[in-house]
Each structure stands twice: as structure tokens, then as C-alpha cells.
Amino acid sequence: MLRERLRTIIATELEIPVAEVPLDASAETLQAWDSLGHMRIVVAIEDAMSVRFATADIPTLTSIDKLVAAIEQKS
């Protein structure tokens, strides 16, 4: 469920079809996930899920796996 929501947000922010975002997507495997796209993803997740990541952690949250772990840690 959480992965599906993240997948949808990532697709929206990177302006690509959801089908192109696997459940284990990362900046390494998705070409559209560049540094500025990453910021859009992070801010959109914060807004949609009412979470606030530590600023220092943001550059490291570059995959769905890492985002899930960070969100679960906060909930």
C-alpha cells in the first residue's frame, strides 16, 4: 500500500507513467529521478503523508526502499 502510494507520487513528480516506476525504483534505476526531481519527490511525499524528513537525510532517500524505511520509522 505504502509502496503503491510512493510509486504514484514518484510518477507524478517525474512526469512519467506509473507503469514505468517499479516498486523497488531508485535514482539509480530511473533516469528521470535526477537531483531536482528528487527534491520534488521528497517535498510531495512530505505534503501527502504529513511527515517531515530530517534535512540531512534528504539527499540519501533515493529509493522507494529507503523512503519506506524512513516513513515507517516516523510512524
Partner: protein, 305 residues
């Protein structure tokens, strides 16, 4: 290996100009670079294996904050080579530049960033957003007013216009600033008109043409002379644009400007506006700058016009 973040050193110019070409497709000449950055700018670069791969610059600009003199900094020329593009490099350069700003007694920095950079500045670097700046546009108006008292000033003229305003936040347009901004920029012409009375400058207006658009990039008058000198200068600018075939006029005018009510009639807001905001280096200044209604920013206060 991550790039090394360090202050500018003489000799970096070639690498910086190369980076401008790669990132912005802009062929900045050495003269233009010197005009922008000169000896005053605070510049931080990212270097990898002898190559400049990142650049973050702050151009100091004196401001008046509700009548108090402050040194501000316009952030400009923020760029990272595509193959080194990551948030960390950008943020590390910005933080190093802010350290240097504090050492140089810069109170705050301001900028007009694009959407992507703006997101990073607000979320990662604690910038504060102010209302976006919307251009006012209109057609050059037909005027019946006699504007023969308005003179166009030449390159050798110094404009002494030391008027302060205790209620607004605005750049201090000293005579040195006006000379640098409008007379010394390589390859760009800024027609400047003044109104003098008794040998004293009572107001000035600076113009720029881009294709068929005429920009009013600066417009200030002595306090109390808005309806007299202000109206004459504005009429002369309209006449200049009509005579030179300009189809539309564009300018920034904020409600805090004493001339806002004069120029807003007949002009229409256009577009969503430019992102605009600041980062102050102490809480007191941050609180002073937070009221967007007090800012009085003109096109010449950015690096674009």
C-alpha cells in the same frame, strides 16, 4: 570522488565561463564576467580533477531596511555541471558561500530563482518565500505632457540620488551603483533620464529594450516629487519607447514604491510572477524582512535586466 568546494581563486574564470556555456548555453565574455562579479562578488566553486564543475555567487548590494543601512547579497549564477548534479554539491556550495557572506558582514541574501532551485533553497537551505514578483505591462501611452524639462544623461554624468525611505526595504541606489549598473555594463544600453531643478537631481528613470519590449528597470524620485517629477519622467519614458518603436512596456512595481500608484494605472499584471525570497543571517533581520508588503524591488535589483 566528490568535488572540492572552495572559494574562488584567480584563474578560475576560464573554467567558470566554460561552465556557463555548458549549463546555461551562455557565452559570457571575460568583460561581462568582470562586470558581473568584479572584485566584490563572493564566489564559491566546486572543483573536480582541476575542472570547475559548480559555481555559486553572491553579489553584494547595499540596502536600506526601514531606513537602516544593510549589506545584502544577490544570489546569482548558481550552477552545477550535469554529470555532477546532486543536491549535496549545490547545498555545500551554498553553505560555504553563506559562511563567506557572514564574514563579509552581509546581513541577508535574496534571489529570484527558478522553480527547481527555489524548492531546494526553501526546503534545504531555510529560505523564506515572499510574494512572487509580477510584471506590470502596458502599451506606450500617448502623452500631451511637456517633457522638455527631462534630460537624457550621458555616460560621464554622475547621478546623486541619496534619497532614503524609512518604511520600505529597498536597494540603496547610490551614484556608484547607478554608474556601474547603467553605464558600465558591456554591450547593453540603458537610456537614463533625469529631472533636475536648481542643478539638483529630483528623479531618474532608467530604461532598457529587449526585442519589442521596453523595460523600466529603475525609477525613483525625491520624496514628495512623485506627482510632479515622477509623472514627467514616466511620460518621458513612454515618449522614448514610442519614438523607438517599442510595442509594450514592462516593469516591476511593488505597492511599497512611492511611485506605484502613478505607474499602476493603465498597466496590467502579467503571468504568475517570479519566485522571490530571502535568507537572513540573524533572527532580527529575518523578522524585519518577513513583511512582503515592505519590499520595493525594481528590475535593476536583479541580474536579468
Amino acid at each position: 570522488m566528490p568535488p572540492v568546494i572552495r572559494p574562488y581563486a584567480p584563474g578560475d574564470e576560464t573554467g567558470i565561463l566554460d561552465l556557463y556555456r555548458v549549463v546555461f548555453a551562455l557565452n559570457l565574455t571575460p568583460d561581462e564576467w568582470r562586470w558581473y562579479y568584479g572584485n566584490e562578488a563572493i564566489i564559491v566553486v566546486a572543483e573536480s580533477e582541476g575542472r570547475i564543475v559548480g559555481h555559486y555567487a553572491v553579489q553584494p548590494r547595499p540596502f536600506s531596511v526601514m531606513g537602516e543601512s544593510r549589506l545584502a547579497g544577490l544570489v546569482m549564477g548558481s550552477m552545477v555541471a550535469p554529470e555532477f548534479r546532486n543536491i549535496t554539491t549545490f547545498i555545500d556550495m551554498a553553505k560555504r558561500a553563506y559562511e563567506l557572506c557572514r564574514e563579509r558582514l552581509v546581513s541577508f541574501v535574496y534571489a529570484f530563482p527558478n522553480d527547481n532551485v527555489w524548492l531546494v533553497r526553501r526546503r534545504m537551505l531555510d529560505w523564506t518565500a515572499l510574494p512572487s514578483i509580477v510584471s506590470l505591462v502596458g502599451r506606450p501611452s500617448e502623452g500631451a505632457r511637456d517633457v522638455s524639462a527631462i534630460e537624457r544623461v550621458g555616460l560621464e554624468d554622475t547621478i546623486e540620488a541619496p534619497w532614503s525611505d524609512s518604511s520600505s526595504i529597498r536597494a540603496a541606489h547610490s551614484s556608484a551603483f547607478l554608474m556601474w549598473r547603467f553605464n558600465e555594463r558591456p554591450g547593453v544600453e540603458y537610456p537614463v533620464y533625469v529631472h533636475r531643478e536648481g542643478g539638483r537631481v529630483r528623479g531618474y528613470i532608467a530604461l532598457k529594450r529587449y526585442e519589442s519590449t521596453g523595460h523600466i528597470v529603475a525609477f525613483r524620485v525625491e520624496p514628495g516629487a512623485e506627482a510632479s517629477t515622477g509623472a514627467l519622467l514616466f511620460a518621458r519614458a513612454n515618449q522614448h519607447f514610442r519614438e523607438t518603436g517599442v510595442e509594450r512596456i514592462s516593469m516591476w512595481s511593488m505597492p511599497a514604491s512611492p511611485l506605484h500608484s502613478l505607474v499602476v494605472a493603465g498597466m496590467t499584471p502579467e503571468g504568475a510572477g517570479k519566485n522571490f525570497g530571502y535568507l537572513a543571517f540573524d533572527p532580527e533581520t529575518s523578522a524585519q524582512l518577513a513583511d512582503g508588503a515592505r519590499w520595493d524591488i525594481a528590475m535593476c535589483d536583479s541580474d536579468v535586466y
